[in-house]
Amino acid sequence: QNGVRDSLAPEEFDRYSRQMIVPGMGKDSQLRLLNSHVLIIGAGGLGCPAAQYITGAGVGTIGIVDGDVVETSNLHRQVGHATSRVGMLKVESLITHLRALNPLPNYVAYPFPISPENAAEVIRGYDLVLDCTDNPATRYLISDICVLLCKPLVSAASVQKSGQLIVLNCPPAPQGLVDNKYAPCYRCCFRKPPPAGSMVSCGEAGIMGPVVGTMGVMQAGEAIKILASGLHLPGSEGGNLREPTLLIYTYELENTIGPFSFRALKMGGRKKNCFACGENSTLTLEGIKGGDPNYEQFCSLPSAKHTL
C-alpha cells in the first residue's frame, strides 16, 4: 500500500528505542521491520502471544487469519482476547487488543479459515508466515504454499504439556532446487501425518497456557530476527542455510524446570524426494486450488478416539 519507509518518525524512535539500542539491531533493522509484512495464521493460543510481540516490535503490516469466534474456554491461554469479546470473531478481537498496544502498524483481518482455495491469495503479499494453526491438514497446506511462493515459515505447535518450534524454508529456495544447502520445508521434516485417531486437538486433549504461550512468543522471536537481520534473504552463494533445528519443550507438572525441559534436535536440509520442494515435485498453486492434493484425505480428520 504505502511506499518503502526510509526514516523513522519521532514517535517511532520513542516507542522502539529499547529494541533499537540492542547490539545488532539499530535503525536499519528497525526499518526492515517497519517495511515487513507478516502473516499470522491462527489467532488462538500460539497466535495471541506471537501477535503481541510482532506488534510490539513494530512490524509494518500484520495480517491475521482465523474463522473462529472467541469462547470462554479459550481465555486461559488466548491472552489477546477478553471476556467482553466472547462471541466476537477472533481476528477482530485480537486486532482490537493489538491496536490498543500499538496503533502504528497496518492490520489486515482475514475472518475465515485458511483453505486450499484461498491460501495462495492470502499468503502472496507477505514476507513471512507464522503457522499458529491447530490441525495437520492446514499445516501441510500452509507449508506447500510457502514453498511455492518462496516464503519463510515459522511453525510452532503445542498440545497438553509439550511444545515444538521450527523455522522452515528459510531462506526460501525455488521448488526443485535440491541440495543440502537449502532449507527444509514442513514435509521434509514431517513426511507423513499421523493416522487419524492418533492425534487430538487442544480442545480435546487440553493444553497448559504457559506451554503454548512460550512457543508463541518464541515464534515471534524467530520472525523478528529473521526480518530484522534479513536471514530469509539468500546468501552470496545462494544458500545461507543455518542448522535446521526442531526445538521441543517438555513441561513436567511434577518437576520444576530441569535439564530436559528443552531439547534442540538436529534436522536435515531439503530432501531430494520431498513431495513439495523436491526435484520431481509436481505440486502447483493451480493444483492446490483445484483440490490436488486432497489435504483432508491425506491427513484424515482428527478423532477423539485416543488421547494422544
Binding site: 491462527g42 488462538g44 493460543g45 500460539l46 497466535g47 503457522d131 499458529c132 494453526t133 491447530d134 490441525n135 495437520p136 499445516r139 510452532a156 505447535a157 503445542s158 498440545v159 497438553q160 509439550s162 511444545g163 515444538q164 521434516c189 514431517f190 513426511r191 507423513k192 501425518p193 499421523p194 493416522p195 492418533s198 492425534m199 487430538v200 486437538s201 487442544c202 486433549a205 493444553i207 503454548v212 526442531l246 521441543i248 517438555t250 513436567e252 530436559f260 531439547r263 534442540a264 534436535l265 538436529k266 534436522m267 536435515g268 530432501k271 482428527p302 485416543h306 494422544l308
Partner: protein
C-alpha cells in the same frame, strides 16, 4: 542386569548387552509408564545374530518396555507409526540411516510425537 547369566529361552548367556537411554516426548511418554527416560540394557545382537538396529529396538521396546496395550499408537505394520520422529543422539534418524542404524553403546534414542495443536 549387567552381566546376568540366567538365560531366557531366546537368549544365550553369552549375548552381550549394551547400555542405552531411550527417551519419549510429545505425549508418547504416556505409553511408557509416564516415564520420560528409560535406561536400558539391550542385547547387542538379535536372535539371528545381527547387530541391534533401530528396527530391532522398536520390537524390543514393544515386547519389554511398553506396558500400555495401545501398540498402534507406537507401531504400525511393524514400523514406527507415521507422526513419530526418531532421533539418534538428538539428530533426525534420516541423517543416520533410519531403521538400519546400528545401535552403539551409550546411544540416546528419542521418540517424539509430532504435535499439531495450537
Amino acid at each position: 542386569m549387567g552381566d546376568t547369566t540366567a538365560s531366557t529361552p531366546t537368549m544365550t548367556a553369552e549375548v552381550e548387552m549394551i547400555p542405552i537411554t531411550v527417551d519419549f516426548s510429545g505425549g508418547l511418554e504416556m505409553l511408557f509408564s509416564n516415564q520420560r527416560r528409560h535406561s536400558l540394557e539391550i542385547p547387542a545382537t538379535d536372535k539371528d545374530g545381527k547387530p541391534c538396529n533401530i528396527a530391532s529396538l522398536i520390537g524390543y521396546l514393544c515386547e519389554n518396555t511398553m506396558k500400555d496395550p495401545r501398540r498402534e499408537l507406537f507401531v504400525l505394520d511393524d514400523h514406527i507409526r507415521p507422526g513419530i520422529l526418531v532421533l539418534i543422539n538428538d539428530a533426525d534418524w534420516e541423517l543416520e540411516g533410519e531403521e538400519a542404524y546400528e545401535i552403539q553403546r551409550g546411544d540416546n534414542i528419542l521418540f517424539v510425537s509430532t504435535l499439531h495443536g495450537g
